[in-house]
């Protein structure tokens, strides 16, 4: 009757107990991290595309408007992928022989679609609607990132449910004036970069965007429409003309906002953004 185990076994046994505990914890942490990792979310992955289309070149370089290609972003759940025709509009004249554009010419000639790979791909049971987001002050870059700085398109955010909820639970922190929707360079207001906004009492049936006017340059005393940052861009302009509503009265009173919190609060009220509880209700996204 002698010892069965070596002296070292005590230490080994205790260590392995501790290790087991640690491994379990580590596994949990790993899985937790893994489910949020780009490996799962595909953040930052540049998918193989038939044509290495550069948003950077077209947006930043050439100054194309988002809507030039994504035409239905304001009126449909689906923003729209441009038909070959949109490419050919210009590329019938320029870069007509570029090898890179062979698939485009091919598509135009044969009538077969250019088969892109979807970059922002939500699961089929998620119903995202572009229309309501852009109409209520969520800018393109809030979700898609600085597309104008992406030579090849990739997914900036996780697009996971917690990411969506992050904003649905506190929409104010991402709201911007609808005139700035397409502004890729929009940053939240600060002391250095304040935003001035004026509002008129809103009317039933008149889109909320029309009762708010914001500018990033200090308006003249008393508020002059003329002093706004040139012609209102994009959505805002279109909506005004669409509805034929009255322009902002000359005597509008502008308030200065120097923080996103304050601006968000103002816009949430003005745009009648639904309450977080309503926005985080399941049927908002799943049907």
């Amino acid at each position: 009757m002698a010892q069965i185990f070596d002296r070292s076994s005590n230490a080994l046994a205790r260590m392995s107990l501790v290790l087991t505990g640690l491994i379990v914890i580590a596994l949990g942490v790993t899985l937790d991290q893994l489910q949020r990792s780009p490996w799962v979310t595909r953040q930052g992955q540049r998918a193989e595309q038939p044509v290495p289309f550069s948003h950077k070149h077209h947006v930043q370089g050439l100054g194309l408007q988002c809507q030039y290609c994504h035409t239905s972003v304001e009126k449909s759940s689906y923003a729209g992928i441009p038909p070959t025709k949109t490419c050919i509009n210009c590329h019938a004249q320029i870069w007509t022989n570029a090898d890179l554009l062979e698939p485009v010419r091919d598509s135009w000639a044969t009538g077969k679609s250019i088969v892109w790979t979807k970059v922002h791909d939500l699961p089929d049971y998620v119903y995202f609607n572009h229309e309501i987001h852009v109409n209520k002050g969520i800018g393109c870059s809030s979700c898609h990132g600085r597309v104008d700085e992406m030579p090849i398109m990739y997914q900036q955010n996780t697009l996971q449910m917690e990411w969506c909820l992050n904003c649905h639970r506190n929409p104010g922190k991402n709201l911007r004036p609808t005139s700035q929707i397409y502004n890729m360079a929009w940053t939240e207001p600060s002391e250095l970069k304040p935003v001035w906004c004026a509002s008129t009492p809103d009317k039933d049936g008149v889109p909320t965007a029309q009762s708010v006017n914001c500018t990033m340059q200090e308006p003249a005393a008393g508020g002059q429409l003329a002093s706004l940052s040139g012609a209102p861009v994009g959505l805002h302009a279109q909506m005004v003309s669409d509805a034929g509503g009255p322009p902002m009265p000359v005597s509008a009173v502008y308030t200065k906002y120097t923080s996103q919190e304050a601006l968000g609060k103002f816009l949430v009220a003005q745009y009648h953004i639904r309450t977080p509880r309503e926005l985080s209700s399941c049927e908002v996204c799943h049907r």
């Binding site: 009538g111 790979t117 699961p123 119903y127 008149v206 049927e283 049907r287």
Partner: protein, 1042 residues
């Protein structure tokens, strides 16, 4: 064929194919060495062979039905393939890359993601149904009635809804075939035109015969008229097994011309239906308008007057069951009964040889009295499947009462070329047998399947030198024809049609023909001088004159397309007086002889929709029979024939035999067996082939409607029906809660005891408008009867109100829900074990003696209880309440414990026990509503109040900075309902329709005693009972009964 039990089936098969038996070893050998996807594909191919099914029933007798069942088998095979693919990735699934296929040139008016609506019409032999089609990226995804149209007011019906699935049916014929080999259209054109040139040159078309379905298209009639000029001797005949021969024959006799009767139920206080199913679907011409008008006078909205319906009928229909007073009579006695009414009105002699029971006499007396009292404000409607005598009697009674011109007017027929189709067919067969037919062109009809057996159409057809078949399926006729032209669906082609009131609708295609199908216009155009003119051109040509007369043609044409109909094209009433209205009644049949009546199936009609899974699976009204058909009879006849339900019997009529399983139907006339047509197809497609038995096998040309002296023999076999509702007889003694009679329905008795159905007579309602809340357990607990404070729904609060007075149980809502919500078809076997997936069902309860019951129809879907019992028990929170009070089901969160279903007192939840949704068939993908998730295996689902429509409306409202308007959100069921029985809206908005309905005293919640606080409530039924008749018959009032 496979109506027979498995054993029988097996014998037949092996008998027909000796030496073809497949053994399990052979199957293994064939599959050997094949792995993965290939393995399953091979299995799939094998599975399509008949021997495979035979092998299975031999090797696995008990499970065979499940394997052979096409839907289940498909599910199994696809699932097996999918699970192989999934094997490695379960747990941490990453989505596969999804490709985008953008347009080359995007159409200008297309906004992807936004549906577009187009008007068109569903051409139907009983009159077209005008439609508004929801189209997503030019794929029609939902059909609904055209709300602007005077006939339908936006409502539709079950079969019309089902035609959407027919469009995308993968089993549709996809090619032109010549003796079974693929050809293209020009080849056919060359052959056909060559023949035409010959015929034109010699004999003026002698030997050229067209056999068409009932013509509803004015353009087709115009085309034929033009063709006739060049081919005076060519013949154009029409035959459909379900036709209007009786009505036409009667009107010809009475008025000397073929006329359609238009009934104005908005003017009628007393209605008598003589075997007329005018509330049961478009099998009755003008259904939507008739049902709508009938229901409008029963809303008790600001009035306490309502109409009264009497029904005399032989089998049990929803129309009869909605009647205040229903009398079950043998079909052959309905005519004499009508003659007796006429006799009492005119003072003429009652039909000889008929004696009426005491009860029938009382009914007759009261009915005549009521009709007389409402002369000019009453109407008698004869059934389409009744004899010409009944129609003639109806014409005469209406005339005698002075109803003609008031509640009934006669107009030109919807069919521009009316004919007695039975005679047409006989002419054709005679000519065929005489060898006179060179070319027989059969268009959109299937006589090989549906012609009377005694005429032996298939033999006669073989005597034609050349046969052409145009049809959407390679059906029984297409299979034997020399040429088969794959037909276009009405959503794929240009045409036109008239609704029953005569209003013209242009049928415009919603989608390019999926398989390049052709229409009857394309065939007839070959005979004209401009044979290359398209159907579009032909239709435009037809209406050019009429539309130009009212101004700019192009503008009017576009307007007609936009509106969906040509305004003011309804037929004007003809001022005609019936002349020859002597009703000749045949001698009565032996009192206890059995007669067989043939009725079109309410889902499949004459069999044309047999491959539409939605319609096959849709439980028939009254019987709740799904997938099959049955020999339907009364409980009395059951006893008399000494058979039991599910027994397979052999019915012999006039020397023809058919095997059919027996189903007892409450209220069915004694000594009558009803057989519904449309089942027992051999070449319907994967869904419809082999389902049920073919009732045409017993239908002869001499007795297409009522066949007397049938012989019935028990075969000893059994057949299990797929019935979606239990039906037990209450054998409980009085002290055990029963009624002691042993003739009542257990479900019916319990339903009334439990306050699920509450109703009163009109008199009782007048005395006590709050009757629905009287009695034990009939009042809801106070809102705060809880330990915990209630939730406050202070913004929108969605709710629904269902008018029990209006619901006629026609099932339109259910099929509409199928289409809107991507509901899966599960197959016969799954329905049989109780796994049908309909989110909405119509509960039918029979009250009183099952020989002569009263029935109640209750549409039942998720009640969206505020205190939902289902939500509380879900362990993962997959079903939750939204701030607007929807009980929302999050499919992607569901793990499938099914606890919610167990805890749902209404049992309205549906579970994907297997993979029911078809993820494989490409054409079905086009049909799906993109706004609704397709549910996979293991997930619970249920009515969502069409949450996708609510969300769309809210987004539109938010965008426009306004509130959602009342009526802006219409649920799919509400939209389809012909009687506006369903109302949806915001109950917090006092002025909304639904809030007003809920404020009515008659409004009650089902099982509200549980404090579930359902958001769907019901408006209790009120029956305008003829008190005198009720007293005479000793019928108790509901308060006494309940």
């Amino acid at each position: 064929m496979s109506m027979l039990p498995e054993k029988e089936n097996q014998n037949q098969m092996s008998a027909s194919e000796p030496g073809q038996r497949l053994t399990l070893e052979e199957v293994r050998a064939k599959l050997k060495g094949q792995t993965g996807k290939k393995y399953w594909r091979s299995l799939d191919e094998l599975a399509d062979k008949p021997e495979f099914g035979e092998m299975l029933s031999r090797e696995f007798p008990q499970q065979a039905s499940e394997w052979i069942d096409p839907v289940t088998r498909r599910g199994f095979l696809k699932l097996a393939g999918a699970s192989m693919a999934l094997a490695g990735v379960v747990g941490c699934t990453k989505q596969p890359d999804e490709p985008i296929y953008p347009y080359i040139k995007q159409p200008e008016d297309l906004v992807l993601g936004r549906p577009v609506y187009f008007a068109t019409a569903h051409p139907f032999p009983m009159g077209a149904l005008p439609l508004l089609v929801k189209s997503d990226a030019y794929r029609p995804i939902k059909l609904d009635g055209n709300p602007e149209h005077p006939m339908a007011h936006g409502s539709s019906d079950a079969m019309t809804q089902g035609t959407l699935l027919a469009l995308y049916d993968p089993d549709r014929s996809q090619h032109i075939l010549y003796r079974g080999e693929t050809r293209n259209w020009p080849v056919f054109q060359a052959a056909f035109r060559g023949m035409l040139a010959d015929k034109k040159a010699s004999g003026g078309g002698q030997g050229l015969y067209f056999l068409s379905a009932t013509v509803t298209s004015p353009t087709l009639a115009a085309q034929w008229k033009k063709a006739q000029a060049s081919y005076p001797n060519a013949k154009f005949l029409q035959y459909e097994p379900v036709n209007r021969d009786s009505a036409y024959a009667a009107s010809k006799q009475a008025f000397g011309d073929y006329l359609d009767a238009q009934y104005k139920l908005d003017q009628a206080n007393v209605i008598l239906a003589l075997d007329a199913e005018f509330l049961s679907g478009i099998v009755h011409p003008g259904f939507n308008k008739l049902a709508g008008d009938w229901a409008a006078k029963r809303k008790l909205d600001g009035t306490d007057e309502m109409n009264r319906l009497y029904a005399v009928e032989s089998w049990t229909t929803t129309t009869g069951l909605k009647a205040e007073h229903r009398l079950a009579l043998r079909a052959s006695e309905v005519g004499p009964f009508a003659a007796a009414i006429l006799a009492q009105l005119n003072g003429g002699a009652a039909p000889a040889g008929y004696s009426w029971t005491d009860e029938q006499q009382k009914y007759l007396a009261a009915l005549v009295k009521d009709l007389k009292a409402n002369a000019g404000k009453s109407v008698v409607i004869p059934g389409e499947q009744q004899t010409p005598e009944v129609h003639l009697a109806a014409i005469a009674i209406n005339q005698a009462l002075g109803n003609a011109g008031k509640t009934v007017v006669y107009t030109e027929t919807v069919n521009p070329m009316p004919s007695i189709q039975g005679d047409d067919l006989k002419t054709l067969i005679a000519d065929l047998n005489a060898g006179k037919v060179d070319w027989l062109v059969i268009m959109n009809t299937n006589p090989v399947y549906g012609a009377p057996v005694d005429l032996d159409f298939i033999t006669a057809m073989s005597k034609a030198k050349h046969t052409v078949h145009l049809g959407q399926y390679l059906d029984e006729t297409g299979n034997v024809a020399e040429w088969h032209i794959n037909g276009a669906h009405y959503l794929e082609s240009w045409s036109d049609a008239r609704s029953y009131d005569g209003t013209v609708s242009i049928i415009q295609p919603m989608i390019d023909p999926l398989y390049g199908g052709k229409s009857e216009h394309d065939i007839l155009q070959q005979m004209l001088d401009d044979p290359d003119t398209s159907a579009y051109g032909a239709v435009r040509a037809t209406w050019k004159q009429q539309l130009s007369a009212k101004g700019d043609y192009e503008f009017n044409w576009r307007k007609a397309l936009h509106d969906g109909f040509l305004a003011d094209t309804a037929f004007p009433a003809k001022s005609v007086a019936a002349k020859n209205i002597a009703v000749n009644v045949s001698a009565p049949a032996a009192a206890d002889s059995i007669e067989v009546i043939f009725r079109p199936d309410l889902n499949l009609y004459d069999g044309r929709y047999a491959n539409v899974g939605w319609l096959q699976e849709l439980p028939r009204p009254v019987t709740n029979l799904s997938w099959d058909n049955a020999a339907m009879m009364s409980y009395g006849t059951l006893d008399k024939l000494k058979v039991e339900e599910s027994d397979v019997i052999e019915i012999s009529v006039n020397g023809s035999k058919v095997l059919a399983p027996v189903l007892a139907v409450p209220g069915h006339a004694d000594n009558v067996i009803t057989l519904t047509l449309g089942q027992g197809r051999r070449n319907a497609g994967r869904v419809g082939s082999g389902m049920g038995f073919n009732a045409y096998d017993a239908r002869t040309s001499s007795a297409p409607l009522i066949a007397a002296n049938a012989q019935v023999k028990k075969t000893g076999n059994k057949f299990e029906f797929a019935v979606t509702k239990s039906h037990y007889i209450d054998h409980r003694a009085m002290y055990a809660g029963g009624d002691g009679s042993g003739t009542h329905s257990l479900e019916g008795n319990e339903t009334l005891t439990r306050g699920i159905i509450r109703y009163a007579t009109l008199d009782e309602f007048r005395k006590d408008p709050d009757f629905a809340h009287q009695g034990e357990g009939h009042d809801a607990p106070e809102p705060d009867t809880s330990m915990f404070a209630s939730y406050r729904y202070d913004k929108n609060a969605w709710g629904m109100s269902i008018d029990m007075n209006s619901c006629v149980g026609c099932n339109a809502c259910i099929v509409s829900c199928y289409a809107e919500n991507n509901i899966a078809v599960v197959g016969r076997h799954q329905v049989k074990v109780g796994r049908n997936m309909q989110w909405l069902r119509i509960d039918t309860y029979f009250e009183g003696d099952l020989a002569a019951p009263r029935a109640h129809f209750q549409p039942m879907a998720c009640q969206h209880c505020e205190n939902a019992p289902c939500e509380q028990v879900c362990p993962v929170g997959a079903t939750v309440h939204t701030p607007e009070g929807l009980n929302t089901m999050v499919y992607n969160r569901c793990v499938g414990t099914r606890y919610c279903s167990n805890n749902c007192p209404y049992k309205v939840r549906r579970f994907n026990f297997l993979l029911y949704s078809d993820y494989e068939t490409e054409s079905l993908k086009l049909m799906r509503n993109p706004d609704v998730t397709v549910r996979s295996r293991g997930v619970m689902e249920k009515c969502s109040y069409c949450v996708q429509r609510i969300s769309a409306a809210k987004i539109a409202a938010d965008k426009g900075n306004r509130q959602v308007r009342d009526g802006e959100i219409v649920t799919a069921c509400q939209q389809a309902c012909p009687t506006s029985a369903i109302t949806f809206g915001n109950i917090n908005d006092r002025s909304s329709k639904v809030a007003k309905l809920k404020a009515q005293t008659r409004s009650y919640g089902v099982l509200e005693g549980n404090n579930t606080r359902p958001r769907t409530t019901y408006v209790a039924e009120v029956l305008n009972v003829n008190q005198e008749l009720a007293a005479a018959l000793g019928e108790g009032s509901p308060q006494q009964n309940g």
